[in-house]
C-alpha cells in the first residue's frame, strides 16, 4: 500500500432522498492500493457512498476526485471504476467467457486481446475450465468469482464490492475473504468494500470506516477500531462487548485514574481526559475476561458474580455471569484441558479477572445509541 498517494477524494458530499438527508458534508480520502471497508448497519449511508463513487447515483453537492480529476458528473459507464454486486448481476444469457469479456468489448478493446485477457482473469479465480458454462450452471461461490473476474479484467482504478460475500454460506464466505485479500494484494488495485459484517471488515481491511446514520463514527485500522473504539456505538457494533458503569474517583497522573466500578476501586488507563466525579463506561471484550474459582481470601479484590449460563461453543466456552449489581457479563475462554478448575456449574460463585490495560474507559453517553 502506498500511503502517500491519495487515489480518491470525496469532499463535502451531500445526498438526500425526498427531503430526508442521507449524507451531509461527507469527506473521505482513500489511498492507492489499500483495502478500505465501509462498515455499518443497513441504512447508515454506506451503499449510497458506494453508488456515488460508481456513478449510479449523483451527489446533490460536493465532489469526487479520482487522481486529480473531478468525476462527480461523469456517467458510470465512463468511470474507470468497476463493481462486484451483492447479487452478482451476471448476465444470464451469456456464457462465463462472454460475461467476463463484456466490459472489454464495450470499451472496444481489440478482438485479439480479449481472449487472453479474459482467460487470464478466469485463471486468476480458478474458473478457466468453466468458461463455456452459463451462470445458472454454476454454484454461488463460482458465480461470485465470475463477478470478480468480470470486474477486475477491466483493470479498474478502484474496485467496489457491495456486500459481495453476504449471499454465501459461512464456510465459503471465510474462504472467499482470504481469496479476496490475496487477490487484492496480487493486483494492487484499490478495493472499497461495503459490509455490515464486522468480522469480514476486521479480517480483510487495511482501514475501516465505521458509519451510523450517515455520520462517521470512527476511521482507523481494524486493530484501532477493535481495541480502542471511539464511542459506545463502535464498541458495541464491532464484536461483543461488556459494559460496566463507573465513576472517576481521582486523577492519578497522566491518563491514569482511580475508577469505582461495582463497588471496588481500580486503577485504570484511559485515552480521554476526565476529572473526579465523571461518569464513565468501562468496556471489556468477552475474550479478555478470565473466570476463576473464588477464593474467599481474595474475594474483595475481584469482580464477583454467579454463573448464569454455560455455553459450549467448540473453540471456546462462554459463560454468562451475573455480577453483584445485577449486570450480566459474557466471558469467552479458550479451552485449557489441563486446568481442573475450568468447568463451572450454574449458580456457582466465581471471580472475574482481566489483564490490566485491556479495558477501554470512555465517558458515559446519556442518550445511548442502540447497536
Amino acid at each position: 500500500m502506498n500511503d502517500s498517494v491519495a487515489l480518491l477524494q470525496l469532499r463535502g458530499l451531500e445526498k438526500s432522498y425526498a427531503g430526508h438527508s442521507i449524507l451531509s458534508g461527507f469527506d473521505l480520502t482513500i489511498f492507492d492500493g489499500e483495502f478500505f471497508t465501509l462498515l455499518g448497519p443497513s441504512g447508515c449511508g454506506k451503499t449510497t457512498i458506494l453508488n456515488m463513487i460508481a456513478g449510479m447515483e449523483m451527489p446533490d453537492a460536493g465532489s469526487i476526485v479520482l487522481l486529480g480529476n473531478d468525476i462527480s458528473q461523469v456517467p458510470a459507464e465512463k468511470r474507470p471504476i468497476n463493481t462486484v454486486f451483492q447479487s452478482y448481476a451476471l448476465f444470464p444469457h451469456m456464457t462465463v467467457f462472454d460475461n467476463v469479456a463484456f466490459g472489454l468489448r464495450m470499451q472496444g478493446v481489440e478482438k485479439k486481446q480479449i481472449k487472453p485477457r479474459v482467460l487470464e482473469a478466469l485463471e486468476m479465480v480458478q474458473l478457466a475450465h468453466l468458461a463455456d458454462r452459463k451462470p445458472a450452471q454454476l454454484s454461488g461461490g463460482q458465480q461470485q468469482r465470475v463477478a470478480i473476474a468480470r470486474a477486475v479484467v477491466n483493470q479498474p482504478k478502484v474496485l467496489l464490492l457491495d456486500e459481495s460475500l453476504s449471499a454465501l454460506d459461512y464456510k465459503l464466505r471465510q474462504q472467499m475473504q482470504l481469496e479476496l485479500k490475496r487477490l487484492q494484494r496480487k493486483l494492487g488495485i484499490t478495493f472499497i468494500y461495503v459490509t455490515h459484517d464486522q468480522e469480514e471488515a476486521l479480517s480483510m481491511s487495511d482501514r475501516i470506516l465505521v458509519m451510523h446514520q450517515g455520520k462517521v463514527q470512527q476511521l482507523g485500522t481494524p486493530r484501532q477500531i477493535y481495541e480502542n473504539p471511539a464511542n459506545l456505538f463502535v464498541a458495541r457494533f464491532i464484536g461483543e462487548i461488556n459494559q460496566l458503569d463507573g465513576e472517576i474517583v481521582s486523577v492519578d497522573g497522566d491518563h491514569t485514574y482511580d475508577v469505582k466500578v461495582e463497588g471496588l476501586q481500580w486503577t485504570l488507563k484511559a485515552q480521554h481526559n476526565f476529572t473526579a466525579g465523571d461518569k464513565v463506561h468501562v468496556l471489556l471484550r468477552p475474550e479478555d475476561l478470565r473466570v476463576e474459582y473464588i477464593d474467599d481470601f481474595h474475594a474483595s479484590q475481584y469482580l464477583v458474580g454467579t454463573v448464569v449460563e454455560r455455553n459450549y461453543k467448540g473453540k471456546t466456552l462462554d459463560s454468562l455471569i451475573r455480577l453483584g449489581s445485577g449486570i450480566e457479563v459474557l466471558a469467552s475462554e479458550f479451552f485449557n484441558e489441563d486446568d481442573p478448575s475450568f468447568d463451572y456449574r450454574p449458580n456457582q460463585k466465581v471471580a472475574l479477572k482481566w489483564v490490566p490495560g485491556w479495558e477501554v474507559v470512555m465517558p458515559a453517553e446519556k442518550s445511548e445509541v442502540a447497536a
Partner: protein, 295 residues
Amino acid sequence: MKLNNFTFNCGIFKCLAIGLASLWLTLFVFFPSVLVMITSFLTRDPQNTVALPVNIANYQKAFDPLYLQVFLDSLTMSVLATICCLLIAYPFALAISKLDKRLQAIALFLMIVPFWTNSLVRTYAIQFILGKQGLINKALLALDAIDKPLQLMYTQGAVIIGLCYILLPFMVLPLFSSLEKLDSKLQLAAQDLGANAWQRFWHITIPLTMPGIVAGCLMVLLPSMGMYYIADLLGGAKNLLLGNVIKTQFLNTRDWPFGSAFSVLLMLLLAFMLWLYFRAAKFANKQGGLGDANF
C-alpha cells in the same frame, strides 16, 4: 401420470372444473375440427353440400400455384403486420414497464378498454379514418398538403394497419411481462462495465426479452393469417389472406370440402410454427436464456 391416479387425487371442484372445460372443448372445438377434417376428404355436391366418394383431390387443388401464391402473399402481409406491431409495441411495453406499479395497471387497462368494442365495429372505424372522405384526407386537404384525396383504403397498407391495430395487445402483453421480469441490476452492471444506453438495450434488454418477442410475434402472426374480415373491409374484395380464401369457399363458392382442406392445411401450418416455438423455448431453457447476447 396415470389417468387413474389423477382421477382419484382430484377434489370435486377440480374434477367438475376440468370436466366442464373438457366437455365444452369436446363439443365445440374437437367435434367441429373432426367434421372439418372429414369434410376435407369428401366431394362437393350442389344438392347436399357434400357427398362421397372419399378422395384427396381437395388437397391436390390446394397446392395449385394459384393458391401457393395466395399463401405467400398472405404470409408476407402477416409478417409485415407482425413487424409493424413489434416496432410499435416494444417501445410502448418498455415505457409501461418503467412506470410504477399503480400507473402500469392503469396504462394496461387503458390499452385494453377499446377491445371491449367488437373488432368488426372498430374495423369500420378505421374505414372512417382512412377513406377518401376520412379524417386523414380531410386534414391533409385542409392543410393544402395534397391536391386530391390519397388512396389509403383498399390497399395492402390499410390491411396491415388494421391487423396491427386489432392485434396490438397480443404483442404488448407478452413483451410487457418479459420486460417487467428484467432484473434492473443487470442494467446497472452493464453500465458499470462501460455499456452506453444503446449497448445496454442491444446486448442486455433485447436478448433477455427474446422469449416475449417470440411469443408476441407468434400471437400476432398466427391469427393474422385468418382475419379475413379485416382484409375484406380494408383491402377490398381481394384474396389477401388465407382466411379470405377459406371464407370464399364456404360462403360464396359453396365448395365446403375444398374450404375444409384449406382450413386443415392452415391449422397444420400454425401447429408446425407453435411446435417450432416450443422447441426453441425448451432449448433456450436448457441454455439459460434465448439468444446469444448479440455479439
